[in-house]
């Protein structure tokens, strides 16, 4: 996975590259918009992470110029200015995803994974983890062959955890995947639903699949 990070704030750039290298990526950094554009045109990247506020050339113009040239490399735009209107602006400029600061590294990795997967056009019909399966078309859920009845939200929550393939999913990502809220609801909605899902898929089985990762979120995997 070759990645280009265009970010002028050194600490953020260092943190991003350290995280991505740890996840097995090859990282190139650019500190301003012009250098970023030049590097991006040079090509060979699987994805670009671009901050919006950049010296010389702002992130949105960078993406626009890249798209005008016919370059379709997936781009995730990062911004502190934030929220809804900038998200729309970013997507209009041709970015594939938008991540408002402050974000968690696990959230960034989740976006990258789904972006690269989208590019590979892989979409398994049945999601599975150990003896748990979820058929995406019929929404049928089974564990150890036994059918489990889930409500729509519970099923979406399970899908969101299964898609992460063992990685941690943050509360914010769960909220946007299950409820499609673009805001922080300030409630313990996620925790309440995770508890309900646990009751249905873990309680009657010897191995609990839903793990709480304190401070980070939830993950679905076999206990280590």
């Amino acid at each position: 996975m070759r990645l280009l990070i265009v970010e002028d704030e050194r600490k953020t750039a260092a943190l991003l590259s350290a995280t991505l290298i740890k996840e097995g990526g090859q990282v190139t950094c650019a500190q301003d918009g012009e250098a970023g554009l030049k590097a991006a045109i040079g090509g060979g990247f699987d994805a670009l992470l671009v901050d919006i506020m950049l010296p010389k050339l702002d992130g949105l113009s960078l993406v626009r110029q890249l798209r005008v040239r016919g370059d379709t490399t997936p781009v995730i735009v990062l911004s502190a200015r934030g929220e809804v209107e900038q998200r729309v602006e970013g997507l209009d400029a041709g970015a594939d995803d938008y991540l408002p600061k402050p974000f968690a590294m696990s959230e960034l990795m989740a976006r990258l994974r789904s972006l690269l997967r989208r590019n590979n056009q892989q979409r398994p019909a049945v999601l599975m983890m150990a003896d748990l399966t979820l058929d995406q078309a019929s929404r049928e859920t089974r564990r150890g062959g036994k059918r489990i009845e889930l409500s729509t939200r519970e099923s979406l929550l399970l899908e969101c955890l299964l898609r992460a393939e063992g990685s941690v999913v943050s509360r914010r990502d769960i909220i946007s995947a299950v409820w499609e809220y673009d805001f922080d609801p300030g409630t313990n909605l996620v925790d309440v639903y995770v508890r309900r899902l646990r009751d249905k898929i873990d309680r009657d089985f010897p191995l609990a699949l839903i793990q709480t990762v304190r401070g980070l979120g939830y993950t679905l995997r076999l206990p280590s």
């Binding site: 953020t12 502190a80 609801p185 309440v192 304190r214 980070l216």
Partner: protein
């Protein structure tokens, strides 16, 4: 011309006019007497009683002069005082929304014109400090976001570092939770700052409020079940409002969350949605310890939390109701908070829903 001189000149004009009328009538009476004396001799002139003549002068000269004085004087005074009235009206209309529009000046340099100028300068300074306060919050929340990302990311690395001791990872995880709380407060502040600056996107779609309320009731039942609170949805009439669905959801969830948080075990929450003329009225009522009367007017203030909430383990930043209020205002609605006689707390949201 100064105001004092203008009033003085109007006053003298009215007075002179009255004198002219009285003078004219006296001249007429004296002339008549002289004519009669000339033609009919002294006897004819003596026929006239001086008292009667004086009364005639007062009646035909003085009364019109008084009437004219009252009418004309009143009219002139009103003209002289009109600028004061205009200025008073402008002062009454001044609020946060129109600080940048100056009051029009007459430009004639009188006391009122000078006062208008002073008032406009004051308005300008007030507007400036409002903008500064707003921009400060907006910029502060933006400036905090980058360092928060770095802190969060670094703590994530520490919390997941398998080489570190368990106790250190636990510490990092505990700090992560605090950073998330901080991030959430910064996000809420930035939301409020953007709402204040009129930057909230105004997606004006027709939103079926009854569907949103039904969804909310279902969600609230699940949220409240753990807290041992029952939720009932009373009357829910089909009403649509024009606005942003996402913000309306946020508003409703905010209110429901409050109703759950400040409730008690075994308590209840009741919601209704009805149409009242051209308004949609959503009411949410909950049991739980009511806020003391003297604090009730402050519930929509930022960071306000009743002492009760501070003492209990209730989480929350105290920004939820401020956010609810700003969303209601973006939708040209009204939000009210009250405590019913039997001690239940009630929040009523009224949103325009023209038929």
């Amino acid at each position: 011309m100064t105001l004092r001189r203008r009033i003085l000149s109007y006053y003298s004009m009215t007075l002179s006019l009255s004198l002219v009328i009285v003078g004219f009538w006296s001249w007429f009476e004296f002339n008549e007497q002289r004519d009669e004396a000339l033609h009919g001799g002294a006897e004819a002139a003596l026929k006239h009683d001086p008292l009667e003549e004086t009364l005639e002068i007062i009646l035909y000269g003085g009364l019109p002069a008084i009437l004219l004085g009252i009418l004309g004087g009143g009219l002139l005074m009103r003209r002289a005082l009109r600028p004061i009235e205009e200025l008073t009206e402008a002062l009454e209309k001044t609020d946060v929304s129109n600080l940048s529009n100056p009051v029009p000046r007459s430009g004639n340099g009188d006391e009122l014109d000078r006062m208008t100028a002073v008032f406009n300068r004051m308005k300008e300074r007030l507007g400036l400090s409002f903008t500064q306060a707003r921009e400060f919050t907006l910029n502060a929340s933006h400036e905090l976001k980058t360092p928060l990302t770095v802190i969060h990311g670094t703590l994530e690395q520490m919390a997941t570092n398998e080489l570190a001791a368990e106790v250190d990872r636990e510490r990092a995880a505990s700090l992560l939770e605090e950073v998330q709380r901080l991030s959430s407060i910064v996000g809420q502040l930035s939301f409020l700052a953007r709402a204040d600056a009129g930057l909230l996107p105004s997606a004006r779609e027709s939103a079926a409020l009854d569907i949103l309320v039904r969804d909310l009731a279902e969600e609230t039942m699940i949220l409240a079940s753990g807290a041992g609170v029952s939720v009932t949805l009373g009357e829910c009439q089909s009403v649509s409002v024009s606005g942003d669905k996402m913000r309306l959801r946020q508003l409703l969830l905010n209110l429901a969350d409050n109703a759950v948080k400040y409730n008690e075990r075994g308590g209840s929450i009741e919601m209704t949605l009805v149409r009242q003329n051209d308004d949609a009225v959503f009411t949410i009522t909950n049991t739980g310890i009511a806020l003391p009367a003297e604090l009730r007017s402050r519930v929509f203030e930022r960071f306000f939390r009743g002492d009760l909430a501070h003492n209990s383990a209730t989480e929350g930043s105290g920004l939820g109701l401020s956010i609810a209020k700003s969303i209601v205002e973006v939708h040209q609605g009204v939000i009210g908070y009250s405590v019913l006689p039997e001690g239940r707390t009630q929040v009523v949201v009224t949103l325009p829903s023209p038929r």
